[in-house]
């Protein structure tokens, strides 16, 4: 994305980290989490750092500001910034560099803006406190940057509090804040991960433009190779605190050298063969359902969907579209105010407490956050055994035997795992335990609410494959709530697209995913980043031509 006259590789070196080692503290012990990584960044260059969680990418990004999070320390190597050795610099000197010459854009702007101060106060704080600009100049700069970043009402938006501004706008305001002292380098730490795809594309475009206009060097940290492909000149692939592969972005995407990079590239290739029988009477039928929280506005408005035997229905939409609320209505957690939910032709009582145990058993849920969905004080034996006793009256050796069977089913060795606590498992393993717990009830329908969103891509893919295998073997139906269209492509038979509490389009996957689309489905589909480095430019041009 550099459009400068000199090629990036000929420009002056801005950041040079040599043999960087970082340690993290756990229970009074220091463990190395970054094992001697070299990073070089030239002026005006955009470097993508990519890897799964635990790869050390954020830690390395922060190390270029000579900052280590609490519980971490830089234990070896050197960090040079513009000829200065940051590792040998006193804290007060480093403070002067932070914000003025190296700025940071965090993953969640909503959490990283101080809720107690207006945006403009937080924007002006850096230039004023560092004595770079006076308040009035800084405020007029802000309006200019807000305009360049295409924020609505650039003159007045700064006078709002963070909670009065949407997530995508906050992320752009944070980019503006990082730019307030015209730094040489900005660290972007997963700036679009928390956003919906349709918002993400706008933020990506805004960041790319403004970084280019000011010729700022950037480190772009993400777990999404398709996103980094749009942003970076050069990419470093990291894993477990080691460098896997480094090179020019286009060259690496076209021709990855390492197996791990190839895996990351092909992560979205898994696709199921359509299963189940669409002609049979549906298992679950939702008709004209309307619901709201308390006396608030309608969260669901006349929603109708059907879920067939042994089929997977993906419900897609942005945050706030009502997809999770639909799951709450189906399970009876939120009573509907109009319409009906029927199961095998029998209308279910709207309230959870009016449903019989048999009705409860047939429908189980798996949640987004396996960390909070499992009781941290219970062992796996108890977590999986509980529904066996509750729904199926199993006790003693019968229950133990079935628990072990379920563990084998989700591909975890029973002897190794049955006595563990959730804290001793990885994120993917915890989600597998949640799946086993749902299966223990021998349900016919499992509602999966964003079950792969909190997992790394490779782990998520394994979980999807497991769910698919279980469907083939056990003939369960899935209602799969997700905002990720790649997941939809991978696992769905039928697709329901939701927007603001309404179903805008539904039908078999092939029908919904191929043109002609409903306008909103089109917007959603075209906003999903692709590995092609020219994708963002192409989409933006196409949209401009249509407008």
């Amino acid at each position: 994305m550099s459009t400068n006259h000199t090629a990036p590789e000929e420009r002056e070196i801005l950041v040079e980290m040599r043999g960087l080692r970082i340690e993290g503290q756990s229970e009074d012990q220091w463990n190395e989490i970054v094992h001697g990584v070299d990073v070089t960044l030239r002026r005006g260059e955009v470097l993508g750092l990519i890897g799964e969680s635990g790869a050390g990418k954020s830690t390395i990004g922060l190390a270029s500001m000579a900052f280590a999070r609490p519980g971490c320390r830089i234990s070896g190597g050197t960090v040079m910034f513009d000829g200065m050795d940051l590792t040998a610099m006193p804290e007060s000197e480093k403070r002067k560099l932070r914000g003025t010459r190296i700025a940071y854009v965090a993953q969640s702007a909503a959490a990283s803006f101080n809720p107690a101060h207006r945006l403009i106060d937080q924007y002006s704080e850096m230039p004023v406190q560092h004595g770079v600009l006076d308040r009035a100049t800084s405020e007029s700069d802000a309006v200019d940057l807000f305009r360049r970043l295409k924020l609505p009402d650039p003159e007045t938006i700064g006078f709002r509090y963070p909670h009065q501004v949407s997530g995508g706008q906050l992320q752009r305001a944070m980019t503006a804040m990082a730019m307030s002292c015209k730094p040489d380098l900005i660290i972007f730490d997963e700036p679009t991960t928390a956003l919906d795809v349709t918002t993400q594309i706008e933020v990506l475009a805004a960041i790319r433009d403004v970084v280019e206009q000011f010729d700022t060097a950037a480190m772009y940290i993400t777990h999404d190779l398709a996103v980094v492909a749009q942003m970076a000149d050069r990419i470093m692939v990291l894993r477990h605190g080691n460098l896997v592969e480094e090179g020019n972005a286009r060259a690496m995407l076209a021709n990855p050298r390492e197996e791990y990079t190839r895996q990351l590239l092909s992560v979205r290739s898994f696709q199921k063969a359509t299963a189940g029988d669409a002609t049979q009477a549906p298992l679950l039928k939702v008709e004209g359902v309307t619901a709201s929280y308390g006396s608030g506005p309608k969260v669901l408005d006349d929603v109708s969907i059907e879920i067939g035997h042994a089929r997977t229905v993906a419900v897609v939409g942005e945050s706030g579209s009502g997809k999770s609320t639909l799951a709450r209505v189906i399970t009876g957690l939120l009573p509907l105010s109009d319409g009906s939910v029927s199961y095998k032709g029998e209308v279910l009582p709207p309230r959870l407490k009016d449903r019989e145990r048999g009705q409860l058993r047939t429908m189980q849920m798996i949640y987004q956050m396996p960390d909070t969905a499992l009781n941290p004080k219970q062992r796996i034996r108890e977590i999986i055994g509980r529904p066996l006793s509750f729904y199926l009256d199993m006790t003693g050796s019968k229950r133990e035997e079935r628990t072990r069977e379920l563990l084998s089913l989700i591909e975890l060795e029973p002897d190794d795992y049955i006595d563990r606590l959730p804290g001793e498992l990885s994120g993917g393993q915890k989600q597998r335990i949640c799946i086993a717990r749902a299966l223990a009830a021998e349900p016919e329908l499992i509602i999966c609410d964003e079950v792969t969103s909190a997992l790394d891509q490779l782990v998520a893919e394994e979980v999807l494959k497991l769910l698919q295998r279980l469907q083939d073997d056990l003939r369960v139906s899935y209602m799969f709530i997700t905002h990720d269209l790649a997941t939809v492509r991978a696992i769905a038979d039928d697709v329901v697209v939701m927007l603001q509490g309404k179903v805008v389009e539904s039908g078999p996957k092939d029908e919904v995913m191929t043109p002609p689309h409903h306008d909103y489905t089109e917007l959603l589909l075209s906003s999903v980043p692709e590995m092609d480095p020219d994708w963002l430019t192409r989409v933006l041009e196409a949209r401009q031509a249509n407008a």
Binding site: L62, M65, F67, R69, P70, K94, R95, K96, L97, R98, G99, T100, A103, Y104, A106, S108, A111, S112, F113, N114, P115, A116, H117, E125, M126, Q129, H130, R160, Y161, H163, Q164
Partner: protein, 318 residues
């Protein structure tokens, strides 16, 4: 704004309801005291006729619910009745005493609240340092010692050994402000020592609680000084719990100082309450308790309103 007014109105209504419940409890508690009030006051030697006449005068011959309504109605009009002990107007009796109690509480609060905030912010800034540990030990020891103990130590040291302050805080209506401040210095110090620890520890804890938030990390990455991060970024979000604890302690300064007043022979409401209980001066006891209750409820109401005013989400709705 109307949303805030509604919330304040709701709190006020709730406060009023609490007050009525408290008045009922006070009334019933006195009602449940063993023995007959008239007999108790007049002594066993009193003639039955005298007792009966006295009962009529106290209106004890009426059923309890009628007396309660009559009492509450009079209270609401500001008529607290007369003392049984000396037949003086209770409002007059209590007025001066309550003023003294408020004076002492304000004196202690003006020292204690800023001191606690200052020490708490410093402790958060230099957490786990020697200063942090030392201040924790000192304030904890002072809160763990009973008030009378702290009071006697101060008397022994500052009054007897050094002779800086008087050990008895006798004030009357004619005492000038400076003289008053001088004479009540020791009780004010005692109370400061008793309440500082709680407020200081809450300030420290609620600031430290926020230090792991992403916006504090952001403030650090903006290169701001540690002081600015704590005071400008953490403190504004920590007010709600701090205010609650401050108000709780202010209430304690007014309502809970009986022991300190007794030690320093200070003519406050607490002293009066104790005297009246021993004299079985029931109307005075009831009126004092009700005043304490009103103070407590009003202060908590203030805390609620302040908590709302420091919450930008409520002050600046979408």
């Amino acid at each position: 704004m109307s949303q805030i007014l509604t919330m304040v109105a709701q709190r006020l209504a709730l406060g009023l309801l609490t007050l009525i419940a408290v008045s009922l409890i006070i009334f019933l508690a006195v009602e449940l005291l063993p023995g007959d009030l008239a007999e108790a006051i007049l002594g066993q030697a009193a003639l039955p006729e005298t007792v009966a006449a006295f009962r009529r005068e106290l209106r004890l011959d009426l059923p309890p619910h009628e007396r309660y309504i009559e009492w509450l109605g009079a209270m609401m009009q500001g008529d607290m009745g007369r003392s049984l002990a000396n037949n003086r107007e209770i409002s007059e009796l209590i007025g001066v005493r309550f003023g003294n109690t408020l004076f002492l509480a304000a004196y202690a609060a003006i020292i204690a609240v800023p001191l606690a905030l200052f020490l708490g912010i410093l402790a958060a800034l230099y957490r786990n340092s020697l200063y942090d540990r030392a201040i924790n030990v000192v304030t904890l020891s002072s809160i763990s010692s009973p008030e009378f103990f702290v009071a006697y130590i101060l008397i022994a040291w500052l009054a007897n050994t050094l002779g800086w302050f008087p050990s008895i805080s006798n004030v009357h209506e004619g005492t000038g402000l400076l003289e008053r401040l001088y004479r009540t210095a020791l009780p004010a110090m005692t109370m400061t020592l008793v309440v500082v620890a709680h407020m200081m520890r809450m300030t420290r804890a609620s600031i430290i609680n926020l230090l792991a938030s992403p916006y504090i990390e952001m403030a650090n990455l903006k290169g701001l000084s540690r002081m600015r991060v704590i005071v400008h970024h953490a403190l504004p979000n920590a007010w709600a719990p701090i205010i609650n604890v401050i108000v709780l302690n202010l209430a304690f300064l007014i309502v809970g100082v009986v022991v300190v007043e007794v030690v320093f022979v200070y003519p406050g409401l607490g002293q009066l309450l104790i005297d009246s209980v021993s004299k079985r001066d029931v109307p005075v006891v009831q009126a004092s308790c009700l005043i304490f209750a009103v103070t407590y409820i009003l202060l908590n109401l203030t805390a609620d309103v302040l908590a709302i005013l420091t919450n930008p989400r409520l002050m600046h709705p979408k």
